[in-house]
Subunit: 195 residues, 2 copies
């Protein structure tokens, strides 16, 4: 397919963005979210505070960059699911794709989960992002099933249920101190939520 050649500007912007995220998460993990100021993130990188807020609308958004990033992938995944899967099944299977990311660098994932669970403010923002994902997935589901085969209400509930199961699984994982494997917990949660 058409390989995009990212212009120099794009490359530099992506690099700066990554630097900010790396440094930000590093400091958040080390000192906590509330105890880390934007200035502390920005200063060692030689970047202006103002610039930070051109990349991220809010301090919290830095944490959820990866999350928002993956919603389009998830939507595509859902649309590509075999037609014979039930709506709920398809959504669950699509979501399960994300588990690979947890497998690849589990300690990073764990740190992130801890960060969220220990900072209610972040949780709030996280839910906000989840809402966007929920809506995107619901729209995709409607498209997949056909507009007159599933109501918006039903689509939202199916997607919402799957996401709740996911969330519950993550919490269970967190409660257990991350000792257990996430994948089977998620599987079980999906199964329970599916009745």
């Amino acid at each position: 397919m058409t390989e995009k050649s990212p212009s120099l500007r794009e490359q530099q912007k992506a690099a700066t963005r990554n630097e900010l995220i790396r440094m930000g998460l590093l400091l958040f993990f080390e000192n906590g979210f509330a105890n880390t100021t934007v200035d502390q993130i920005v200063e060692p990188l030689g970047i202006a505070k103002r610039t930070f807020f051109r990349y991220f609308k809010a301090k919290e958004d830095l944490v959820f960059d990866f999350y928002e990033d993956k919603t389009p992938t998830l939507v595509r995944e859902l649309k590509n699911r075999p037609k014979d899967e039930s709506p709920y099944e398809a959504v669950c299977k699509a979501l399960s794709t994300q588990l690979d990311l947890y497998d690849v660098n589990p300690d990073w994932a764990w740190s992130l989960v801890c960060l969220l669970n220990e900072n209610p403010e972040l949780m709030g923002k996280g839910f906000e992002k989840r809402l966007t994902r929920e809506q995107a997935l619901a729209a995709a589901l409607i498209e997949r099933e056909g507009k007159n085969k599933i109501t918006p209400l039903k689509a939202r509930i199916i997607v919402g249920t799957a996401l709740i199961a996911w969330q519950a699984a993550l919490d269970e994982w967190y409660e257990g101190g991350g000792k257990s494997k996430l994948r089977p917990i998620v599987k079980k949660a999906f199964s329970i939520a599916g009745q």
Copy 2:
């Protein structure tokens, strides 16, 4: 039963709290949440900004006072449900109690729903509060069913599913401009979510 005689102090505090909430919501409805400063709320009442933040940890909390307020009631309601109802049914029935509030002063309810839907920041905080409610209800459900009859994971998922249905119903209501009746939408949503 024992009628509590609220001390003078308690009365005054309650009065101040109500004043703040009334004025706050009034201004939020009129000018929007972001466009209303705490000073604007506080000034016409002759109250210091500092005092505002003694009543509410954050500006957003003023909006959710009513919400947090009713969680204990909800928990009690759930515990009092007849034993022959299924867990999910019991949670739904308990939640449905809240519908009376929407019937009593529908325009106030409508304004509030609009406020939430039009301010993502508020949504975020709202989800945060919902999490607390979710946990409280899950705990109550476990207590109701017996600790060895239902796992925490399952309890959370059941409660979460019901709350998702509720949320989806509210959204549907909002999308429809509030023309339709909320109660039947919620009923339908509960039914769909129950499979």
